[in-house]
């Protein structure tokens, strides 16, 4: 018994396969053209030039090599001392940076606490209040810290004050969203309980919501602090205090070994804070 050509399974399979491949190929072709167009456009707009890179590459390696200080084996201590010649000053500036990040995170957390309950669908009956709180925090976190810093430096003058304010506003937005999401995932049983006992809105928040969400709040705030230390280190580029101002100065003035010294100190500080915060976070999450 032989199969007719229409029933031949191999043929049916091959036909279906080539059909599929054709469909896919035309899609892939379209995608490739789109990609090539975007690429070409970006190269033109981005002023990418292999020649500049080719000329610049040796100077980049020279630049990086220049940041490596001369440390001789016979008097290494003295050489390292010379490399970090302004150690106390830089340490004080890093202290400023941490203070800016700390204050920004703390005030940002307070700001987020103000908005987060209004921005939780399960805690607020009024839709307008909910939308207003959500949109406000959205705008607060969508604008980069550095832009806030530029504006606040104009308003308040140079120094750590505008830096802390910039980080505060951005953190209010970022934490407000996270806190609201935590609030929306709580167990509603305790809320019903407090409401049944005659508690008003503030008592509901205090007695039914806060105990459930506090560990998460603290964990998110600590995470934000880690991020903010990084931002506070560069916020000085626009004059908002901290180590960034000094880093900008030495980069602009080509004080090569100072650049590497300051960058290394920033990396060390950031990792130290990361490790400490991670330990604290685990304590808070496990301790409750």
């Amino acid at each position: 018994m032989s199969l007719t050509t229409a029933q031949d399974p191999v043929r049916i399979f091959e036909e279906a396969r080539s059909e599929l491949r054709r469909a896919r190929r035309s899609k892939e072709f379209l995608f490739a053209i789109l990609f090539a167009a975007t690429f070409a456009f970006s190269v033109v707009v981005g002023e990418v030039s292999i020649a500049t890179l080719w000329e610049g590459l040796p100077s980049l390696f020279d630049y990086l090599a220049d940041t490596v200080p001369l440390v001789r084996a016979d008097h290494a201590a003295a050489d390292i001392g010379e490399w970090f010649w302004a150690f106390p000053k830089w340490l004080a500036l890093l202290g400023d940076t941490i203070v800016i990040a700390f204050l920004g995170t703390l005030l940002g957390t307070v700001g987020a606490l103000v908005f987060c309950f209004a921005g939780s669908r399960n805690l607020v009956a009024n839709r307008w209040v909910y939308y207003a709180a959500r949109r406000l925090t959205e705008v607060a976190r969508a604008v980069p810290e550095l832009v806030y810093a530029l504006i606040f430096v104009f308003a308040f003058g140079l120094g750590p004050l505008p830096g802390a304010l910039a980080i505060m506003v951005h953190s209010t937005g970022a934490l407000g969203k996270l806190f609201s999401e935590v609030n929306e995932n709580i167990d509603m049983g305790p809320v019903e309980g407090v409401r049944a006992a005659g508690g008003n809105w503030f008592q509901i928040i205090r007695l039914a919501v806060i105990p459930q969400v506090l560990p998460n709040y603290i964990s998110y705030a600590l995470l934000r602090f880690e991020i903010n230390v990084r931002s506070a280190a560069i916020i000085g580029f626009v004059g908002a205090g901290g180590i960034g101002q000094e880093l900008m100065f030495v980069i602009r003035q080509f004080v090569y070994t100072d650049i590497s010294a300051i960058v290394l100190m920033i990396i060390a500080t950031v990792s130290l804070i990361d490790v400490t915060c991670e330990k604290l976070r685990h304590q808070f999450i496990e301790g409750t």
Partner: protein, 291 residues
Amino acid sequence: MKRMMVRRGNSGDAQLESARERWPSLFVTPLAQRARIYGAWLLLVGATIYALWHTGFFDVTRLIDGLGKLGWLLGFMFPPAANGWFLDFCEGILETLGMAFLGTLFAALIALPFGFLGARNVVTSAVIHFSLRRTFDCLRGVDTLIWALVFVNVVGLGPFAGILAIIVSDLGTFAKLFAEAIENIDRKQVEGVRSTGASEIEVMRFGILPQVIPVILSQTLYYFESNTRSATILGIVGAGGIGLQLSDRIRVNNWDEACLIIIMILITVSIIDHLSKLVRLRIIQAQEYRP
């Protein structure tokens, strides 16, 4: 609560007393723990007061002056206006997108081989693994904006410096993420390809790559989003993009134009977020439905 149980009668009273004796920590927080809690609060309050004083929040005249000025400039921000610069702003936004696109693309392409080298199941040498990972950590540890300042010195002002800054700082992140993706693959496919007598390169191409491509693509798209955000501020240090125009407008007091630029940045970023989320979902779905 405690009172009520006591009033209920002798048996409840006795039970309560015995419970109090057996688990005293349930009734009174131990002194050491209380001391620790109060100490932590004291530390936090002290640190806050110091930080407020140190950053100048107690300088009330400055604060009031600043708030006044802030209100004044916010008033000038509305209504936002282009004053004939709209096309230049659009060009700046497109330049920003181009920078993010090329930076992310090249960072991902360069990071791919390093991802293979840094994966423990591809290159087993602990020395290579350790040294590569630490190099990536250092690249990642330095912020994009710092790299941008460095590259402005090396290749001059303009978007090219920004692209290079994005490439270098993301190289570390991508290499780490890709190496982790490769370390998490299913061993069986690799064994299968190897059992057919394939070379190491063929094992990577047919055993490893098909498994990690979706992960790599979706991570790359995710970083494209994040780089769009960071590319908007690279211009502040002269590395191209819309940031240059924004910081110029702020420095010369053109608040209505600055406000328009900020609004344009917000719209662009949200469009990119949306598009990239769509594409990422499609990639993940294509992965799941593959027969």
